[in-house]
């Protein structure tokens, strides 16, 4: 590096001298550097992770984890790849929960809003305990979403659950045996497949391609040599 001064260096005392903290993993105590993610703490302490790691970017929901911070009785949920450890924290990764997923053919549904009650008859039995909302690491108002699904507001559900990473943490806590993430996925798919206008421009483009609208242009382009193509490409702005 050409740059020698300390002028443009960000202070990170935690990096220069990592403070070790004590955490409890699956009930055993370990020392790990403060501030690393939960998944890295597992690796740091020699745990092989096969089930419980996926995208490592906070999108796939594989690393659902229960944790509790020091002196707090509340057990919370998180994604292990997105949460930093702190002193006194206890955590365990959550094994997959055997929730029932309904099987359906999304394209041939006749009455998707009514079909919800056949596919997920437990959906209207929500008892409003709000445990699902509290369990969601993505901060989705899950309970509200279940009610909106039941009342047929599929559009709102599809918007509310766009952040859902399908970790399934809302399911084991449900006292009415609802799998809210699966209900929402059905609802969102039904919304997309049945209650959204078809984009006219897209169909137009498909027809144009089928009718060979671009054939002449393709003919010209595919015959060009590299120099000619380079020239055409250079003109694109």
């Amino acid at each position: 590096m050409a740059q020698e001064s300390t002028e443009n260096v960000i202070d990170q005392p935690e990096v220069l001298k990592p403070r070790m903290v004590t955490v409890e993993i699956y009930g055993k105590k370990f020392e790990v550097p403060e501030g690393i993610t939960v998944i890295k703490a597992l690796w740091y302490t020699g745990h092989e992770v096969v089930r419980g790691a996926g995208c490592l970017g906070g999108f796939c929901g594989a690393c659902a984890t229960y944790y509790r911070t020091k002196d707090d009785p509340k057990v919370r949920t998180c994604l292990a790849c997105q949460t930093a450890v702190e002193d006194g924290m206890s955590f365990s990764m959550v094994p997959p929960f055997p929730a029932r997923k309904a099987i359906y053919d999304i394209q041939t549904l006749k009455d998707p809003k009514q079909d919800l009650f056949n596919l997920y008859p437990e959906a209207p039995l929500c008892r409003n305990c709000n445990a699902c909302t509290e369990a969601c690491p993505q901060k989705i108002d899950v309970r509200e979403g279940v009610w909106k699904a039941v009342f047929g507001d599929f559009k709102s559900v599809s918007e509310m659950f766009m952040d859902c990473v399908m970790c399934g943490l809302c399911t084991p806590v449900c006292i009415a045996d609802i799998a809210p993430n699966l209900v929402a996925l059905y609802v969102s798919r039904a919304q997309g497949a049945h209650f959204v206008d078809k984009p006219v421009q897209l169909d137009q483009r498909i027809k144009e391609i089928e009718a060979g609208k671009f054939s002449d242009e393709w003919g010209r382009v595919m015959k060009m040599n590299d120099a000619e193509l380079t020239k055409v490409c250079a003109e694109l702005k």
């Binding site: 005392p13 092989e48 930093a84 766009m162 206008d197 984009p199």
Partner: protein, 526 residues
């Protein structure tokens, strides 16, 4: 210095920068910049491959070692199959699911095997969108030319033409499955402009495009009752002794046993190589991105192409430590976010291609205009608050909820403060050479998605990967399914492996690594 003190320069220079237009590099300047600063041109990181179909060609040392690696399967393994399928799909990401669904729809008995869970992939993380030429001002031909330009003219023309022409029908298929894309007021698909593209062409589901597609495809695979083998890693292919692929040997990740799957055709949808951490780079890739398909196809005799070129996404997070390597979506630059050096200056047209932008960031940092962290990293600022300034408060949160949440977890509000970024290993531009149906040099061995090569040339354009997965997943699945109807299951042998081992021996033996890697070894042993 305190990070907030360092960030002041970004706030102070914002109004001045908003008046600027940064021109794109001329082709000559672009080539000079890339040759000097792009990691693909660090000679010390490369070596020739010693043997096999690409003997003598250069690739990064990490990949060369795997290609020359030792199979975990011994020649005397009992090859009595535990499972039989018409089509075996290896990989549970976007390409794998698309291949499985189309093969199934065409009447084949499909098994989908994946070493992690169905859906665990890079696809699920794709934020920027999917390029499809749907607007009146755009056309598949323009999409073709943009991609060719971005790929340094090295793209396979036939693969590329196939992809851009099938794009619109893919969008229609996804819509019919219930995928929700962003719309304009008139109901048409909303399009955004991506880096290196001359027209707005990115179709999006906020910044969750990959997640939205993956959620739906995964659900559809389950609805279609396609047989799944989760936590089963393919470790070796099977051949009939004449170079035709006839199945695969898997390893059960739970009990470590080998499982033999007989299949009339195999589709490798095994993804990329980020977790090899080439040249020590952090990566944006998922846990299983270890290039397994490349090693297996290579031993089978399939030729690879463009395996000397990788994509370093310009904006990987450098701060905080917990997010190192994680992507800050290109969408932020698409919507006008500036890249700013330690002096408060812009230094590149933020919408240039990824290789150009990455090279220019590396240049700024190597020439002393970067911002360093105490963990020895360096980066430049991405002016995220600018989006709220330009388009009104709340824009960032509305358009990039995933991004905002990710940083919020660590107490950082990216709508108030800029983020520090540096290129991160993102994509393998090349892969197994395929034809327009996704078939490799080895008969009945298909490859789809990032594991395949040729389509993207030497630099993939943003948004072309999601489309690649869907188009070549579909084509390989459909072609394989049509073909197997007329075929008998071939013999199951490891003769290709025996041959490969003999060749390795002639060249001083295989490298000492077991290949495929399957998962990176992150667990500390002592």
């Amino acid at each position: 210095m305190d990070i907030h003190a360092l960030q002041q320069i970004v706030h102070k220079t914002r109004d001045e920068r908003r008046k600027q237009t940064i021109p794109k590099f001329s082709p000559a300047d672009r080539d000079q910049l890339i040759t000097k600063f792009h990691p693909d041109f660090r000679e010390a990181a490369y070596r020739p491959i010693k043997f096999g179909p690409n003997a003598g060609e250069m690739t990064v040392r990490e990949l060369a070692a795997l290609l020359e690696g030792e199979s975990p399967v011994s020649a005397d393994l009992d090859l009595t199959p535990q499972y039989q399928a018409d089509v075996l799909v290896v990989g549970g990401g976007g390409a794998g699911c698309a291949a499985a669904l189309h093969a199934h729809a065409a009447g084949a008995k499909v098994i989908l095997a994946t070493k992690l869970r169905l859906g665990d992939s890079n696809t699920v993380m794709a934020q920027g969108g999917m390029q499809i030429a749907v607007t009146a001002e755009d056309s598949p031909v323009t999409h073709f030319l943009d991609t060719l330009k971005g790929g340094h003219m090295k793209n396979d023309h036939r693969l590329l033409k196939t992809m851009v022409e099938e794009g619109p029908s893919i969008a229609k298929w996804l819509l019919s499955l219930g995928v929700i894309f962003d719309r304009d007021g008139d109901g048409n698909l909303h399009v955004k402009k991506g880096g290196g593209s001359s027209k707005p062409r990115l179709i999006t589901a906020s910044d969750y495009t990959g997640l939205e597609i993956m959620r739906v495809l995964k659900d559809e695979v389950l609805n279609q009752k396609i047989q799944l083998l989760e936590f089963c890693a393919a470790v070796e292919l099977l051949s009939d002794g004449n170079g035709t692929c006839t199945g695969a040997v898997m390893r059960d990740m739970d009990n470590k046993r080998f499982i033999v799957v007989a299949a009339k055709a195999v589709i490798l949808a095994t993804g990329g190589i980020g977790r090899l951490h080439i040249q020590g780079f952090p990566t944006s890739n998922h846990y299983g991105a270890t290039g397994d398909g490349l090693s297996m196809a290579y031993r089978m005799g399939a030729k690879l192409m463009h395996i000397d070129t990788f994509q370093y996404h310009p904006s990987g997070a450098v701060y905080p430590e917990q997010l190192i390597g994680a992507l800050v979506t290109e969408g932020i630059r698409s919507e006008g976010g500036h890249l700013v050096n330690a002096r408060g200056e812009r230094f590149v047209n933020e919408l240039d291609t990824r290789d150009v932008v990455s090279s220019s960031i590396i240049r700024e940092c190597e020439e002393g205009r970067g911002i360093r962290t105490m963990s020895g990293r360096v980066g430049v600022w991405l002016d995220t608050p600018l989006l709220d300034v330009e388009q009104g408060p709340g824009t960032l949160r509305k358009h990039f909820p995933a991004m905002v949440t990710q940083f919020e977890r660590f107490g950082i509000d990216i709508s108030k403060d800029p983020v520090l970024i540096y290129p991160t290993l993102h994509y393998q531009n090349g892969g197994v050479k395929i034809d327009t149906n996704g078939e490799s040099d080895s008969k009945n061995l298909f490859v789809a998605g990032e594991a395949s090569g040729g389509l993207h040339g030497r630099n993939r354009l943003m948004g072309n990967s999601l489309l690649d997965l869907m188009v070549f997943g579909k084509r390989s699945g459909t072609t394989a399914a049509q073909r197997v109807g007329l075929m008998k299951q071939g013999r199951l042998t490891l003769e290709h492996l025996t041959k490969f081992r003999a060749e390795a021996k002639k060249h001083g033996g295989s490298s000492s690594v077991i290949s495929p890697m399957v998962l990176p070894a992150y667990a500390k042993k002592e």
